[in-house]
């Protein structure tokens, strides 16, 4: 049924340069490997890596284990396939070969640097999920039994909240953030954005202070260095800087006046 001609090659080759490492405890296996794979129409980095799986042989003719990477939806909505492509963090699925290497340039692919390496292009982003617990990124509902509709909301409020809610925990913002690293406990732009998101919701706002309190401690909103790289690399164009600024304001208010209002 489908057009099988999309799998036919055109003679054009795609040149990949992949940073690999077998395991975090084997730094001596860190290496660059180069692959040339047949070009396919509308090819992205994922399909290029899939071609490597079918013929795992480097340009030097060495047979190697296929490159491993993380991916799921392939339409930039799950956040799994984040990696550093030509020096810039992004999703591999939406990195189209025609756009990044229109004339057959070498495409450099590396794992993200801010998370513990698992192998090759796979890293462990568990810290992000832990930080979502830390900032209480949820609405405290009483239960899933029938309690009628939720609070009413204006279309404008929904249109403001929805983009914030599209964060897929992909890690781009923290990868590009100079403040997010081993020497800080910074929760990162995505987590601050979630604080704003849940503080905006009518029921979420009931626990606004508890959430603010979590980002007024170690690794909180104060660690933002205002480089604003986060908003530049966010694939979902979430207004992360606005979120950080808003949370900063709320935290400052709470610091200055919170104790007065006891």
């Amino acid at each position: 049924m489908a057009n099988s001609d999309t799998t036919k090659g055109t003679g054009r080759l795609v040149h990949l340069r992949v940073k690999r490492q077998d395991s975090p405890d084997l730094p001596e296996t860190r290496r660059w490997e180069e692959f040339k794979v047949p070009y396919l129409p509308q090819m992205n980095i994922i399909s290029a890596l899939q071609q490597v799986q079918k013929e795992p042989r480097t340009v030097d003719g060495k047979d190697v284990a296929p490159v491993v990477w993380e991916s799921s939806c392939l339409e930039e909505v799950c956040g799994a396939c984040t990696m550093v492509i030509n020096g810039r963090v992004r999703q591999a699925c939406s990195a189209l070969v025609d756009q990044i290497a229109p004339n057959g340039e070498v495409i450099q692919v590396e794992p993200m640097t801010k998370f513990p390496l698992v192998r090759d292009l796979i890293v462990d982003r568990e810290r992000m999920f832990q930080d979502m617990k830390k900032v209480k990124a949820w609405i405290d509902i009483d239960g899933t039994h029938e309690l009628g509709p939720g609070p009413r909301e204006s279309p404008e409020a929904q249109q403001e909240r929805y983009p914030l809610s599209r964060c897929m925990t992909c890690g781009c913002c923290v990868e590009a953030c100079p403040q997010y690293n081993d020497s800080t406990q910074f929760v990162g732009p995505f987590a601050l954005n979630l604080v704003r998101l849940f503080n905006m919701h009518p029921s979420g706002a009931l626990h606004k202070n508890a959430r603010l309190e979590t980002v007024m401690g170690e690794g909180g909103v104060q660690d933002c260095g205002k480089s604003q790289n986060c908003v530049e690399v966010c694939p979902k164009e979430i207004p992360l800087v606005d979120s950080i600024a808003q949370v900063s304001r709320d935290a400052t208010k709470r610091l200055l006046f919170g104790w007065l209002l006891k």
């Binding site: 049924m1 489908a2 057009n3 999309t6 077998d22 395991s23 396919l40 129409p41 509308q42 992205n44 994922i46 399909s47 899939q50 799986q53 079918k54 013929e55 795992p56 284990a65 296929p66 491993v68 799921s72 939806c73 392939l74 339409e75 930039e76 909505v77 799950c78 799994a80 699925c93 939406s94 189209l96 698992v118 192998r119 796979i122 999920f129 979502m132 617990k133 949820w138 609405i139 509902i141 239960g143 899933t144 029938e146 309690l147 509709p149 939720g150 009413r152 909301e153 204006s154 279309p155 409020a157 929904q158 909240r161 929805y162 809610s165 599209r166 897929m168 925990t169 849940f198 029921s203």
Partner: protein, 678 residues
């Protein structure tokens, strides 16, 4: 004779239930179990936020009737049964339709940013197979928003302590323990064939480990990757369902594979353009002149053939998916009238999906998520250019057979341990992994609903099952589990070692491509018995060749090669179930269409296909079987429970044909009750 405590085993261990899969169905099951005070181990192939549910775009159905159209759960039930060509058992569908408004309200309370009306109420849009505005939506990434909402609620339980009968916290024990990047391998069955846990593999360290559980719930999604490229995520291989099928679980209606009419062709994936594009006014057309080379925007209205509006004036662009896919397929394949490409000099397998007549701001507020995908992956601006789309494999209506128990009203009996139970005692299935709600064709925006509803039903069902068992899985001898673990370990070693260095060894990824290309070509929109015979021969050949596969990776860390070989072996098993089931069913119903048998044949085929695994390479189709649930023996037949909506011919040419209640023209089926108001 139930065990003394439901919290602790005799040996003092916390009694847990295992949920495999962290999509909507899995997460909802977890939440319901936690609310029933049952601690859970949640095993997921990927971090749960990356489950395939994120890909659902258009929305979730609920007959809230805020538009004053007279919509009701009864009509929702009728249209779902009708849309599914009367292959779904109706009591679960009734339960689902009735629960839908409550589910959407619950999600609303969880903070899902559903689009709103000016009055601040939930907004609803139209979807396929209905004339009502019944679909609640959050932009065009509804699945993502729903998944995140449930994920957040589960995260609350990750930090909640397990509490014993006296209300005392048990130190170090949390209500939910997550195991992400773990691949489900097999269930653990005790000597009586009861499921008492499972074996899974950590995909980082490749450690294989058993998990004890008083019950196991599979929420492992669909199997679209069997078709190579589809709209599904790369993780949707159906491996878990296939594995338990090989352990004796019955697989039902496997041949019903939904092909979605509108997707963007791609090398790695066929990306979905949601039905909501048509729900918000999108129109499907091709130029009347098959050789028209003009830019689509320059082709005047009267020289366009709006194929769906012409063929189905009643529902137009919003006919159910099987019908729209066939219409597009017919136009492109049989009539060769797909969009003409001057570069290649031929009519491509593409039709226009046109939204350019709609205001850009309107589109941005309601469809930005999908139009963004088109813009990013197809490289043209869909706000000002018609999109080019073609059908793609999208959903498996079939799946693991699961039971239900109905109440006096003909709906589901809440809390019955039979609901969502497979025929392996202690093994449950929810979501796309099971077959229950959609019959021969799923209506758009019913999948998110069915997943969440299944979780809401399965939670209490599993909780009552757990109460019924005499001995907890945690009190069984270790040897039961160690045996299973050892078996899985040996199988993994086999995959790593077999055919290494052998000449003529096969590459698993290439083999998968062969399988996928064939399944996509021969087992989707139109099916033919001679071709299917060829498919089965080819599957047998692939069964032999898969034995020659050499694992391309020898690493003991994050070995995706070994994982893929395992999944491929399991995919081949399900491929046979699908192809063989398609060959057997000599009729046309819903997504299953045979030009040689163009009519539905209720006399012979209004029945569920029940497949049982014999040995590798053989499927046994049964008409009935017995199984035991919570100590009770249950007799199951393949008859479809159509007690609520009487079967009739399915036609979408005329408006309102899908529901008797909506038109009043068709008599209400006798067994159906008067609709209670919501």
């Amino acid at each position: 004779m139930a065990a003394k405590s439901t919290i602790r085993s005799e040996g003092g261990k916390v009694r847990r239930v295992i949920v495999v899969g962290g999509g909507l169905a899995g997460l909802m099951t977890v939440i319901k179990l936690c609310e029933a005070k049952v601690p859970v181990d949640l095993i997921s192939l990927v971090p749960v936020k990356r489950s395939h549910s994120v890909c659902a775009q258009g929305g979730i159905n609920a007959s809230v009737n805020t538009k004053g159209e007279g919509d009701s759960p009864q009509i929702h039930l009728e249209e779902t049964a009708y849309g599914g060509d009367f292959l779904a058992n109706q009591p679960p569908v009734k339960g689902m339709a009735e629960a839908a408004p409550g589910i959407v309200f619950m999600l609303d309370r969880m903070g899902v940013p559903f689009n709103r009306t000016p009055e601040g109420l939930l907004d609803f849009r139209r979807f396929g197979g209905t004339l009502f505005h019944r679909t609640a939506f959050a932009g065009a990434t509804t699945g993502q928003q729903l998944l995140y909402a449930l994920d957040e609620q589960v995260r609350r339980y990750e930090i909640a302590d397990v509490v014993d009968e006296h209300g005392v916290s048990i130190p170090g024990e949390k209500m939910v323990r997550k195991f992400e990047f773990w691949d489900f391998l097999q269930t653990v069955l005790d000597d009586n064939g009861t499921c008492v846990g499972c074996v899974a593999q950590d995909l980082k360290t490749m450690q294989i480990k058993y998990f004890q559980g008083d019950a196991v719930v599979l929420a492992t999604g669909g199997c679209g990757i069997i078709f190579g490229r589809s709209t599904m995520s790369v993780i949707c291989t159906g491996t878990a369902a296939s594995s338990v099928y090989q352990q004796g679980a019955v697989y039902a209606n496997g041949e019903f594979i939904q092909v979605h009419p509108t997707a963007i062709p791609g090398a790695d994936k066929l990306r979905l353009i949601s039905e909501s594009a048509r729900g918000e006014g999108g129109r499907v057309w091709v130029p009347k002149d098959a050789k028209d080379q003009r830019n689509p925007k320059e082709i005047p209205e009267k020289e366009r053939d709006y194929i769906l509006e012409r063929m189905y004036p009643g529902y137009g662009n919003l006919v159910p998916r099987d019908i729209a896919s066939r219409a597009i397929f017919k136009t492109c394949f049989h009539e060769k009238r797909g969009v003409f490409n001057p570069k290649t000099g031929r009519n491509e397998n593409e039709v226009y999906l046109d939204l350019t007549h709609k205001d850009e701001k309107f589109l941005r507020s309601k469809l930005a998520g999908i139009l963004e995908i088109y813009e990013k992956f197809a490289g043209t601006d869909p706000y000002h250019n018609p999109m080019k789309v073609f059908p793609a494999v999208h959903y498996s209506m079939g799946g693991l057979w699961v039971d239900f128990e109905k109440d006096a009203r003909g709906s589901l009996k809440t809390g019955s341990p039979r609901n969502h139970a497979t025929n392996i005692p202690g093994l449950y299935a929810v979501g796309e992994a099971e077959y229950q709600y959609h019959g021969a064709n799923r209506l758009g925006a019913n999948s998110l609903l069915s997943c969440i509803y299944a979780g809401m039903v399965a939670g209490p069902s599993v909780a009552s099952y757990q109460k019924s068992i005499a001995k907890s899985a945690f009190d069984l001898p270790k040897s039961t589990f160690e045996k299973a673990e050892k078996r899985c370990q040996e199988d993994y070693e086999r995959i790593l070692k077999q055919n290494q260095g052998a000449s003529g060894a096969e590459n698993p990824y290439k083999l998968h491509q062969e399988l996928g290309d064939m399944m996509l070509r021969d087992v989707t929109i139109e099916r033919d018995n001679a071709t299917l015979e060829g498919v089965l021969t080819k599957i047998s050949e692939l069964d032999e060749r898969v034995k020659k596969v050499a694992c391309p990776d020898g690493s003991q860390r994050a070995n995706q090669g070994a994982q893929f070989v395992r999944h491929l072996e399991n995919m081949l098993v399900l491929a046979r179930v699908i192809a063989q089931g398609a060959k057997n069913r000599d009729e046309s119903r819903g997504a299953h269409y045979k030009p040689a048998f163009p009519k539905r044949n209720d006399a012979d085929w209004m029945r569920t296909t029940l497949a049982k695994h014999e040995q590798k390479g053989a499927v046994k189709y049964v008409r009935e079987f017995d199984y035991t649930c919570a100590g009770q023996s249950v007799h199951v037949t393949d008859a479809v429970d159509a007690s609520l909506v009487a079967p009739r011919e399915r036609k979408y040419e005329q408006a309102g044909a899908a529901s008797a209640a909506a038109t009043g023209k068709i008599q209400q089926p006798a067994a159906s009750e008067q609709q209670k108001s919501v």
